[in-house]
């Protein structure tokens, strides 16, 4: 029975992706709904999690390989945006620090346990990176991954409106914000809107994938020490 987990996940994802391509709404995000379907199956059929992990373990290797492959879009984007690289680096680094700080402060104010705080420390980065960084900080990867995907969906729905509301009307700044704060799903929204925003969003997503594992493991212990 458990051997079906892998092919069923692939089939569900491909079907939902087809549906998403037709309807094109961030609410129908195929990853989000494949995760929801997987969670429902695990609960309804009372499947054992270690068995599920073993059955889907080939994905772990492919995910690690895909993280290495992220070097390619990074290489392509850096080449394109070399002139403004410093500005983009500063803006994305501030975004990463802001995301970590705000999540940590909210969690501390509401008395969350340390493991949950660590799970929320790297939310402004693409999911495979958040899984690695969260594990490094002692958090729960699955909570971080689910939150990152949901944050992407929220950003896709309200991102452009929120940016305009706060007077951020330059397309480059809008794209950078969407890619930096809402990673892949935000980048997809920028790609659907205009080319300039798309280029900046892709660059921001790639740079946050590099900056987050460099900055957050250094900044997080400092937050724990000073905020508690």
């Amino acid at each position: 029975m458990m051997w079906l987990a892998l092919p069923l996940t692939i089939i569900a994802f491909l079907c939902l992706r087809q549906l998403h391509a037709k309807v094109n709404s961030p609410l129908l995000n195929p990853v989000l709904w494949t995760i929801i379907a997987s969670v429902l199956c695990l609960l309804l059929f009372d499947l054992d999690l270690p068995g599920y992990s073993r059955a889907t373990s080939p994905f772990n290797y492919l995910l690690e390989l895909a993280v290495v492959a992220l070097a390619v879009p990074l290489y392509k984007q850096i080449h394109q945006l070399k002139k403004q690289l410093l500005l983009i680096l500063i803006a994305v680094a501030v975004g990463v620090i802001m995301a970590t700080s705000s999540a940590y402060v909210i969690a501390t104010l509401l008395d969350a346990p340390q493991q949950l705080k660590a799970s929320l420390a790297s939310l402004s980065v693409t999911t495979p990176i958040t899984l690695l960084v969260t594990e490094q900080l002692g958090g729960i990867g699955s909570i971080a991954a689910s939150m990152v995907i949901l944050i992407g969906v929220v950003g896709a729905i309200v991102g452009f409106s929120l940016l305009r509301l706060f007077g951020i009307k330059e397309r480059s700044a809008q794209g950078l914000a969407l890619g930096g704060a809402c990673h892949a799903i935000g980048t997809a929204t920028a790609i659907a809107d205009n080319e300039l925003s798309a280029a900046y969003a892709s660059a921001a997503m790639a740079l946050s994938a590099i900056l987050t594992p460099l900055l957050v493991p250094l900044y997080y212990p400092w937050l724990v020490h000073w905020v508690g």
Binding site: L74, V94, I151, A173
Partner: protein
């Protein structure tokens, strides 16, 4: 027969290009894991491998066209690969139901603050540069 041979040759070439690309990525990953284990580094090995690959691309030691046949499908299907990792969230349902407000606030405030800070800073920095 000639057409079939040509088509077969094309498929074989595509498969070899894909294998070469995945072999390069796997080599970087394996070396990064070995170095990481040997030196007991806390920095995730796949990220070290990504940075090393990026540097070798920048230095021209590895050509972009060697990688593209394998990286395109990997990146295209990357969201699928983290579905099981995220689905394991069911393990932590008591923690989630106890701290749902923290998660809900983070869900809206973290992206909002991130969007505003990055967008505002970029607009200001571009204006002054």
């Amino acid at each position: 027969m000639t057409i079939n041979t040509a088509a077969l040759g094309k498929h074989a070439k595509t498969a070899l290009q894909l294998l070469r690309s995945w072999a390069i990525l796997s080599a970087f990953l394996v070396v990064a894991h070995l170095v990481s284990d040997h030196l007991a580094l806390t920095f995730p090995a796949p990220l070290s491998a990504m940075l090393a690959l990026f540097l070798t691309l920048q230095l021209g030691l590895i050509k972009l066209h060697w990688l593209l046949p394998g990286t395109q499908p990997l990146l295209n299907f990357m969201p699928l690969f983290f579905v099981p990792a995220a689905a394991k969230v069911v393990e932590h349902s008591p923690l989630i139901s106890e701290h749902w407000l923290v998660l809900l606030l983070c869900l809206f405030l973290v992206p909002a603050l991130g969007l505003i800070s990055i967008g505002f800073l970029m607009q200001r920095l571009r204006g002054t540069s």
